[in-house]
Structures are given as C-alpha cells and as structure tokens.
C-alpha cells in the first residue's frame, strides 16, 4: 500500500497507520493521542478510500468531505491524501444585483466552470488587488447561478466596494468551496433547526432548500433574527418556501418591536426564542447556526448545554477578517 501526500509517495507497511508511515518518512504531521480521539491528525483523502475505522468519531459533514484520522487509518489500498483542503478557482460574472434589504444586496453570479459545492458552504471572493472576503452561498447546486447576500459594513472595504462599484457584467474571482455547515441526507425524519442573524440567512436558505429538495420530511424550522422587523429581509422568499413545502416553517424574530403580529413576528432575543421553541426535541434535532460570531458561539453553547449533541450542531460564524492580518 502506498500513500501520496503533498507530491511524495510513501510505502505503508502492513498494519502500519498512515500517521506512522508519514512520520517515519520524516514528514511533519501534527498529532497528539495517536489513538483516534483528539482529532489533531485530521487529514483528507482525495483519491482512493479509507477504512471506516479511520472516520469514527468525525462529524458526518467531515466524513462527507473525505476527512479521516491518520492515526487510525490502516489503508487497504493506495490512497492520495492532503493536509489542507483543495480549493477550486472560478470566475463569476455578475448577472443580477438586487437590493433585498435596507443594506443587503443579493448578487447572482454566473460561473465559467463548475463549482462542486454543498449548499451552505462559502466562497472567498477575491478582488483584482487581492483583497479577499468570505461570502456564503445561498444557492443550491442545481441553480443556474451562485447567489450571495452581502451586507454593507460601515467602513467595509469589500462590502462597500461590492455595494458601490460591482455592477452587472463585471467579473470577480472566487475560490472555494469552504466550510462544513451543510445538510447530509440520510435521516429524513429528523427535525432541522436553522437559526441566523443578518446575512446568516444566506447559508440557511441554501441548506433549507437543499434539504427540502432532497426530500427531507421532518420539520424544518428557520429562525431569522434582526434588531427590528424592518431589517429582516427575504421575507417573501421564505413565506413562499413555507407555502410550497409542508415541513418548512419560517420564524421571523425581532428584538426591539413594541408589538408583533404573533402570526408573523416573534418579539425577543432570537436565541431565547429558539431555545424556548425547540427545547423538547433538542436531543434528536440537527442544528445549523450562521451569522454574527457572538450570536453563533453563544447559541451553540446554550443549545449544547440544553441537550443538543455537538455532533449535530453545525455552525458557521461570520468572523470578521482581522484588520491587522490583511493591512495591505
């Protein structure tokens, strides 16, 4: 058996793990427990396949992307692996730009090549001067174009440029896809809980449409939160989804609103609303959280403490790019 890693091929002896073979050949691979529990040695298979035992304990979204633990992998055939995820590069041409909210643009991009992504993943949008920012995909793979939702940040370099200067017909470079916040089919009766604030709606919309398109039958509850109801967007699309798909429910949440029509608007902090609505079914639900990192990290912890399994919480915090690391 042979394993190829970053261009080098190493012979794996009988019963030897991929980690030991790579270390023996002098490669510098991170590891700690060497027993399949700490996940320090996580790698990804790009060709060939790894035994099931090498993926035990990994979340299903990671397994779906070919991740495995090198210290638990005794391959039964030749494999090619990588430490870092391989990215594709495509060029996207803006086909539509629509203001869908107070400060949110919906951009539709037609790409020159296929992008092999899962709904809910994100791409890095790269401007010609090299400035790069992550934006989530709101589209699903069958759609004719990629859809992004971009909120204008005060003083934001990329979002300001997108809002002011990126026009229909313009081209941008995209790299990706990245991220592990997506739907994996297999348990169609499970309850799905999707919660996001701001443009956290973008990946959630993709995930919900993807799950429904794949025949998910259990309840799909999408919670979208904003400070005031006027800052919610995509309401028509979501209400329409609700009309077309029985299991889907849209919960609009606003923090500061004197009175909501209880039929269409829930007033309060979205995290509290989510927790109080789903508590009983939490232990068996699958959860997707997207948007502001403070919101995502806080709700992830609260849901976990309330009984959700960490294996079932998929989170995508929109961490702002550190202003020091990309100063140029």
């Amino acid at each position: 058996m042979r394993v190829t890693h970053s261009g080098r091929t190493v012979e794996v002896q009988n019963g030897e793990t991929v980690l030991d073979a790579l270390l023996r050949s002098g490669e510098n691979i991170p590891y700690s427990c060497k027993a399949g529990s700490c996940q320090s040695c996580r790698m990804r298979v790009v060709s060939g396949s790894v035994p099931e035992a090498a993926q035990v304990g990994l979340k299903e979204t990671l397994r779906a992307q070919g991740y495995f633990l090198a210290c638990s992998c005794r391959p039964d055939g030749d494999i090619e692996i990588e430490s870092d995820i391989q990215v594709q590069s495509v060029v996207g041409v803006v086909r539509a730009r629509d203001r869908v909210g107070e400060d949110v643009l919906r951009i539709r991009l037609e790409i020159d090549d296929e992008l092999d992504y899962a709904a809910g993943q994100f791409v890095s949008l790269v401007r010609s001067d090299g400035l790069a920012r992550a934006y989530s995909l709101a589209s699903i793979p069958g759609d004719p174009s990629l859809e992004l939702h971009v909120r204008r940040m005060p003083g934001g370099r990329m979002s300001g440029w997108i809002h002011e200067s990126l026009g229909v017909g313009d081209a941008v470079s995209l790299r990706g896809p990245f991220g592990s916040c997506f739907y994996v089919p297999g348990r169609p009766d499970q309850r799905l809980i999707l919660a996001g604030v701001g443009t956290g709606l973008a990946p959630l919309l993709g995930i919900a449409r993807d799950a429904l398109a794949r025949g998910h039958e259990g309840p799909v509850d999408l919670f979208h939160g904003a400070l005031v109801s006027g800052r919610l967007y995509g309401v028509d699309v979501l209400r329409n989804l609700e009309r077309c798909h029985r299991p889907f429910r849209y919960h609009a949440c606003a923090l500061n609103e004197s009175q909501g029509d209880p039929e269409t608007l829930r007033v309060g902090a979205i995290s509290d609303i989510v927790l109080s609505s789903v508590k009983e079914t939490l232990a068996t639900s699958r959860v997707f959280l997207c948007g502001d990192p403070g919101f995502v990290n806080d709700l992830r912890k609260r849901l976990f403490l309330a009984g959700a399994s960490m294996q079932e919480i998929h989170a995508d915090p929109f961490t702002p790019t550190g202003s020091t690391t990309d100063a140029n």
Partner: protein, 124 residues
C-alpha cells in the same frame, strides 16, 4: 479483564460520555474558564482523549505529555483544587453512565495518578 472503555462499548460510547462530561465541566464555575474555547469541537475532542485514557482505552500519553499538555494552564493558575473539581465531575459522569463501583474506582484512580504530572510536580 476487559477495560471500562470496552465494557461501555468503545469509541462510540465515548462520544456520549464526553458530552455528559463536557456539559458538567462547562457549567462548573470552578473550572469552566479553562475549557471555554471558541473551538468547542476541538476542545471536546481533547476531553474525549482524557476520558479514553482514564477509561483504559487506547492511549499513548506519557507523563511528560501530560505535563506539557497542561503547562499553559499552570500559567493561568491551575492547582490541586481544579484537579479535585475535574475528578469530582468525572465521578458524577461515571455514576450517570451507570458504571459499577469497581470500574469507577479504577477510572478515578487513573485520573488521580496523573495529578502530579498535570500539575508539573514530577520534574523532568
């Protein structure tokens, strides 16, 4: 004799066990600050390595590894009282899992046996 790790059902059982344990640790204000990590999944995987070790599962940690792995926590004030708290939470986890007294005792004593390494008292 089979290990507690095997009796409980091996790796798959560790996932449920670590969730129980990590919920306790995160809500125990004596020690939670050491475990609050934005990378909750990564932190939980480390705690799974801890449980796998004290349950007698496959583990290759040496005493030196334990000292190195916790040295950054010593800088944050880690001391005996925190080890006591972690061992207490381990005990509560074991009883919630319905582990018999003899197996519990062995797991707790493995943890206890690592105390000096964790606190960096074994020298090098």
């Amino acid at each position: 004799m089979s290990t507690l790790y095997e009796t409980l059902g091996g790796e798959p059982a560790m996932q449920a066990a670590v969730e129980l344990f990590y919920r306790k640790i995160l809500t125990d204000e004596r020690v939670s600050r050491f475990f609050e990590d934005v990378d909750m999944e990564g932190q939980m995987a480390k705690q799974k390595a801890f449980l796998t070790m004290v349950f007698g599962g496959p583990s290759e940690y040496s005493g030196k590894d334990m000292t190195e792995g916790h040295s950054h926590l010593l800088d944050q004030g880690l001391n005996d009282s925190h080890v006591d708290a972690v061992i207490e939470n381990l005990g509560a986890t074991l009883s919630e899992l319905g582990v018999d007294a003899a197996s519990s005792k062995s797991a707790l004593s493995i943890a206890e046996g690592a105390r000096d390494d964790v606190l960096g008292r074994r020298g090098s």
